[in-house]
Amino acid sequence: MSDTRVRLGQTEVGAVGGRGDGTEVVLDVRDLRVSYVTPRGPVRAVNGVSFALRRGEAFGLVGESGSGKSTIALSLMQLIKPPGRIEGGQALLDGTDVLALSEEEMRRVRLAEIALITQGAMNSLNPVMRIREQIIDAWKDHGEPINGREAEERIRDLLRWVGLQPEVARMYPHELSGGMKQRAVIAIAISLRPKVIIADEPTSALDVVVQRQIMQTLRRIQRDLGAAVILIGHDMGLMAQFVDRLGVMYAGKLVEVSPIREMFRDPMHPYSQLLIQSLPSLARKGQFLGIPGLPPSLLDPPPGCPFHPRCPYAMERCRVEVPALELKRPNRLVACHLYEREEGQA
């Protein structure tokens, strides 16, 4: 069973890129499974997720709270804490499975290869340390002890890169606004030039004007670095503005992965369709359309497709058979029995 999934990871999930140009894969996540142990049984927060991230691409993961998107971020950083547990799967970062690394090896990979920016990160800055010391500290932690003049120069360049004045180096976090703090966090995250940046709701605590400024900075940096970004969140507008490809999560699974334009123009999975229909817009004033029903309990998920109790198109088959995430059209992966599998690929 798990064999076929890995094969799927290589031949299908790995073959589908946003631009279909065959760019090299930098991070290949295969059949990731993460559970949280609770008194009432295990909660399968991430239940067999596979996706391939291409070098330099911006990939979005969208889903409601509890869909497992943030758990994916923590797994890739090996930051899952008990009662959470990675139960299976691989995450190949340029061929190395980061899930199998020892704690010490992972410590070197974090920041240098793969960095995480979270919503709360700006509050995790040490309040009694100047920004420059926090940057130097991060370098030390990751085996790059840089000091003196070289450090000062690198810090100045780094701050300029994220749109901060050089004076910020001497400041304490409380002297900075929310947006400036998040820029400082980005500066630390990119200081060792990682290949992959995971941004988990990086701006949801910020006002929209500041949000746009930060996201535009992140995009510029991403392009300069040639890094891939995984943007995690629930704001479809932010996804539309930022990512090349979007993965839609539902109840611990990816239900659709499509290039962003196709996703908005012609969403395939019924959940993606309802999600996009429910977005209020500025274009027209109308009724708010919600998605009827509630997300399933992960303790006791429904049999078959997890979305079938809320799906307007559910068939008998959906109640018994879990649909696999498969290539249903060129560049489009969908986990839904409504569509025939695309033939002749790979």
Binding site: S65, R212, A240, Q241, F264
Partner: protein, 358 residues
């Protein structure tokens, strides 16, 4: 017909005393009237530091203004008798951002629904109370048998927030003040909750003041919008022109920054402030001048008044100084009344050109 709730020239200053530099003007010379009829939906939109939460607290009598007054049925909140205060507490209900804070985790959900009914003596028996509660829960799309008897943590965030809407309606208020009621809720549920707020205010003839940072939902739900920037009204009026053809440079910046769920409509680039704007001192003149690409000499001298640029819109910006000035205490005269057809822009294809040059 006595005005239901009125803010009259309200200013709120925090801090102060000897260290005058510590003074923060949270809200300055703000006026608004909510009439009992017809019921209306007014959105107050602003970012952090705009004064919107201060305004909510003032309107609910949770804090008193530094100058000016909040009046309930024409009477200053500070001068209400006990009985009048009770009537005010019943007529004006609040819904807050995080419903979890309102709940006591040791009581079942039923408790938060029974309390206001008992407090205001609105029911004669437990049976009547139960009937009212069931009716209110059903009105917000909750199944009473799946909601009652549960503890707060057994409900989802969306369910908890809908219970708060039900609770606000239970006492048959005349005005609901909702401060960011959906910002903690998942996107797919936001729509459902806002839709129930909108239908309920219509069905029960309740007015709504919707306070938010989210211009899109504000546009969707409201008749009129007030855009606040650093304690002052930047632009206000009928939702349609304010959103589709924003005039104030700040409203334009705000709308241009919204990440629209359309990959083909990219974020607009922010314009740099003008050379004069760069010299602006945020403590005098127009509060937006230091960020404004159009700032002129006069913007540094005095904060602009409200110019009534259209029948249903005012803009506090000197770019529109040819238009007549509307005294700030008459702000609501620029509001389109529900039921009265709005300006023609509502029907035009204005959505394609959200910003026109001044």
């Amino acid at each position: 017909m006595t005005t239901l709730l009125e803010a009259r020239g309200v200013t709120k200053i925090y801090g102060g005393g000897l260290f005058r530099r510590d003074r923060t003007v949270a809200l300055e010379d703000f006026s608004l009237r909510i009439e009992p009829e017809p019921p209306s939906i007014t959105a107050i939109v602003g970012e952090s530091g705009s004064g919107k939460t201060t305004l909510a607290r003032l309107l609910l009598g949770m804090t008193m203004p530094t100058s000016g007054a909040i009046l309930y049925q024409g009477k200053d909140l500070r001068k209400l008798s006990r009985r009048e205060w009770r009537a005010f507490r019943r007529d004006v209900q609040a819904i807050f951002q995080d419903p979890y804070e309102v709940y006591n985790p040791f009581y079942r959900v039923d408790h938060v629904l029974h309390t206001p009914l008992k407090k205001f003596g609105l029911v004669k028996s437990d049976r009547e109370a139960r009937e009212r509660i069931v009716e209110a829960l059903e009105a917000v799309g909750l199944r009473p048998d799946e909601t009652l008897g549960r503890y707060p943590h057994q409900l989802s965030g969306g369910q908890r927030q809908r219970v708060m809407v039900a609770r606000a309606l239970l006492v048959r208020p005349r005005l609901i003040i909702a401060d960011e009621p959906v910002s903690m809720v998942d996107a797919s549920l936001r729509a459902t909750i806002l839709e129930s707020l909108r239908t309920l205010t219509r069905d029960f003839s309740v007015s709504l003041i919707y306070i938010t940072h989210d211009l899109i939902t504000a546009y969707q739900i409201s008749d009129n919008i007030i855009v606040l920037y650093r304690g002052s009204v930047a632009e206000a009026g009928h939702a349609e022109p304010v959103v589709q053809e924003p005039q104030h440079p700040y409203t334009r910046l705000l709308i241009g920054s919204i990440p629209l769920p359309d990959p083909d409509r990219a974020w607009s680039e922010e314009q740099e402030p003008s050379a004069i704007g760069r010299l602006a001192d945020p403590r005098s003149g127009c509060t937006f001048a230091s960020r404004c690409p159009y700032a002129m000499e006069m913007c540094l001298e005095r904060h602009p008044p409200l110019y009534q640029t259209e029948r249903y819109r005012v803009t506090a910006c000197y770019l529109y100084r040819e238009a007549p000035v509307l005294a700030s205490e008459h702000l609501d005269e620029a509001f389109a009344r529900p039921g009265i057809p709005g300006p023609a822009v509502a029907a035009s294809g204005a959505a394609d050109e959200p910003t026109s040059s001044p």
